[in-house]
Symmetry: C2
Subunit: 146 residues, 2 copies
DNA sequence: AAGTTTTTTATCGCAGGCGATTATTTCATT
DNA sequence: AATGAAATAATCGCCTGCGATAAAAAACTT
């Protein structure tokens, strides 16, 4: 092996990529029960915090492009989780709001983060490690999202 | 806000998910030059380390399903990066090998990890933070991939 | 006011990523 | 040898995720 730096485990990219998919997989059974996908869950979290955002607002918060968000929101509208309507003040903007169904999911979703945290603490990882991990990742995001 | 734990920044999932996409985006210009995608780059890294693996071997190393890998490998075969052939000894298995084109890309790829590391060190993050981050993520992967 | 630029959302096409299922081969058991 | 189980890869369908582009509205410039 001539190029040591090209090994999977010696790069940051692969651990982040793999961990992301594994963590999402852990969410699956919980999200299945709510009949939503992981990105839909992210959209709901954003709207639970602030109901009534534009497509751009949501995209910015999730660091996604609007061409990912738009079809996602359309599917969520079809499932009656949200409504989409053009702003009267600025016809370019589309306002996204929770329906009562979307709002009501928050209560059931509230247990998910705790369940996941509990699950991760079954490893040798301490709560402190997880907090630091989160902080470092947020540093990376802060830096790269400029 | 009644459910503090449902905020994006208070969960591990979102930072990992967002960081993964942002880091992949940083790879883009380098990978564009080699005319490969990020998952293709991962497959190549695995094969550069051990040429001649089965579909399953590759899937296991990348923690991906074979139904993701199979079409990916087909595209790589079309680009003449790899060859795929049924094993004579066990007709169930398909052996994946680098072509000379695929092999030759290693030299050009060797600079990518360094460039990325350099880029990340432009942030307030220290090399030590990145190493620890990687280690923690590998702990998470180790635990969740069982 | 007219023309230009910017903002905002949507459309299109393509490559993952994965759950469910299938087809084939090999292994294990009787 | 015959049968059932396990392993391996592939197929299908759906939902992201994103680059490139377009369409419409608003903001800006002259």
């Amino acid at each position: 092996m001539e190029y040591e730096q090209l090994k999977l485990e010696n790069q940051l990219c692969f651990p982040v990529y793999a961990a992301s998919r594994l963590i999402t997989r852990e969410y699956q059974p919980f999200l299945d029960r709510l009949e939503i996908t992981y990105p839909q869950y992210l959209v709901l979290m954003v709207l639970w915090e602030t109901n009534g955002l534009t497509v751009n607002d949501i995209a910015r918060k999730l660091l996604l492009n609007t061409n990912t968000i738009t079809p996602l929101l359309k599917r969520m509208e079809q499932q009656a989780l949200i409504t989409r309507e053009r702003s009267k003040k600025d016809e370019r903007k589309v306002l996204v709001k929770l329906t009562s169904k979307g709002r009501d999911l928050q209560e059931q979703a509230a247990q998910i983060p705790e369940a996941l945290e509990k699950r991760l603490l079954d490893s040798q990882l301490e709560i402190d490690d997880l907090v630091k991990l989160k902080e470092r990742l947020n540093d990376v995001i802060e830096f790269l999202s400029k």
